[in-house]
Symmetry: C2
Subunit: 333 residues, 2 copies
Amino acid sequence: MKRTTIQDVAQAAGVSITTVSRVINNNYPVKASTRKKVEEAVDTLKFKPNLLARSLIQNSTKTVGILTPSIENLFFSEVIKGVDSILKEKGYTTFLCHTEGEATNEVEVIHSLVDRRVDGMVVLDPRKENVVSGYFEELAKRVPLLLVNGYAQGTGCSYVLNDGEGGARMALKYLITEGCKRIVFLRGKKSHSYDIKEEVYLEFMKAHGMESRILRIKDGNDIKTVEQAKEAVADYIRSGEKPDALLACNDWMAVGALSGAKSEGLLVPKDMRIIGFDNTIISMITEPKLSTVDQQMTKLGQLAGNRIYKMMTTKDIENQKTYLETRLMIRES
Amino acid sequence: MKRTTIQDVAQAAGVSITTVSRVINNNYPVKASTRKKVEEAVDTLKFKPNLLARSLIQNSTKTVGILTPSIENLFFSEVIKGVDSILKEKGYTTFLCHTEGEATNEVEVIHSLVDRRVDGMVVLDPRKENVVSGYFEELAKRVPLLLVNGYAQGTGCSYVLNDGEGGARMALKYLITEGCKRIVFLRGKKSHSYDIKEEVYLEFMKAHGMESRILRIKDGNDIKTVEQAKEAVADYIRSGEKPDALLACNDWMAVGALSGAKSEGLLVPKDMRIIGFDNTIISMITEPKLSTVDQQMTKLGQLAGNRIYKMMTTKDIENQKTYLETRLMIRES
DNA sequence: ATGAAAATAGAAAACCTTTTCTAAAAGGAG
DNA sequence: CTCCTTTTAGAAAAGGTTTTCTATTTTCAT
């Protein structure tokens, strides 16, 4: 059971394969009568050109690889949809690959994509190891590569980034104007975005003459995060502390914090205010609904899509760094 | 800036390209000394074979396409991770594509994958239109294709399915033994799985001489679902009804139902019990935690991965249908 | 040392397209 | 009707591998 090739079509239409190719790609004048013959043959034989062969000779696959540490994270899925919508519009097919957050998986997947000759790659939340080792910087010389968030900032690569710094500052400023005095910061272990926010937090608290207190939990983006955040916050309150506000590095943590505060008898937002980060759906299904910093994931994705497109089409690999502003969403917490 | 080819390696090592190919693929005896020369050349030139060329001649890309209606649905992401882990283990690369739940996108994406000569495809929750039109059945004759859940049952294709029927029956039986008398069924508009569960529900209620009541909301897998479910349930209670139990078709709906019951002053589980479907993380972050029917998504995915692998390797396209049992998870609702 | 068998290497075909270059046909002006 | 220009079509090369088939070298028994 062999597939039908351009050869078969040429034979059926009684023309050369060159002519068939021209009809298919519509890139060269062909007499109307012959064009018709060819089109009929294509139809009856249901011919679909082999994109492998085409890509081989054109040296372009019209595909883009998108890497994400996790597909079950609502933050990433929004970004991905943004990238995807732009690239689809431009005639590219995207392939989504997930790395489970492992640096080794990341390079493995990238190799696989490079071997398959994708025209470009977008890496969400690149792993620190691969940034500091210079891996990305080296890679970016050979293939259009765009980093999004994460440790992107450290490299010589092009990247698109949320302004987490501004977001954190906004949230803290808001809490102050609401009269909060004892603001706790809740973060995961290792992520560039956490580091940045912590920096802002420390600086801010110092500037306002307030004592800073950081709670640190293991990384993750699921129920474990929620549980650990709950535990950490409950422990903290149980130890006799009386926080009146908490800034969490993402919405999952904020959910856990909410739960922990409740379990210790604190009312949110009356006794304690909570602000999360990301503005994922999660922040809308709790009670009270969570206030959070909107990171405009869709827009971030679209930005990334347009940027990688430009990099692929105009062989302009010039590093370009773009920031996307964040917005504070005040809900009920 | 040309890429290095097998030709370059052959030249550098002073051997033929045939020999280089043999060293790379390790599929033919090569003298130890020549092998070493070649390996050195490969290393210094950082040669990576062009998989397009290889695939073209071997007529196999070692890739599998996975289609999903949505990447932001925790149900699907679990299944996908299951498929992925199995196929990666077998040496395949998977490409994830999402269709936004549109039947037209589904065929478009499939065409793109077929043109790129994937070795197989796994379609999660196939669209009804493409099932009834016979599209999948036709497609399955030309390429290994496995359907998962959704309207799979209607086709002559191979599929893997959750036993939603059994799950619904289990949940209802449990509610009865708990003494519930007025059980409401909450579903979305169009999904085969909803239809099946409804059937079980109606039959079950009739068999127990109880009155059945179905609440129907718009489809979706996000905050909208939650809001609409909340609205629907609140309206229902406000209309004077006094349900003492509710079975929801997924966890999102259950979350909404919980919220709706609360807003009308009903206590869960004291006044009203709620059971959801899927056992996604969502069911664990509400208060009280949601009881739900575990659909074993990871296992379902692994099953699918193994199945498509077998279809690809042993050209056995024989239709095979597999069901995966569900389990009732009793938590706090 | 000889011959046959086994081990190793290479030349060329094949995979399916696109593209370049050349050739043939058609059209138009004198 | 001839010659030149324009339009249309085809032959062959190219893209980077794998694989088949043939040729050479090595090994070993005699």
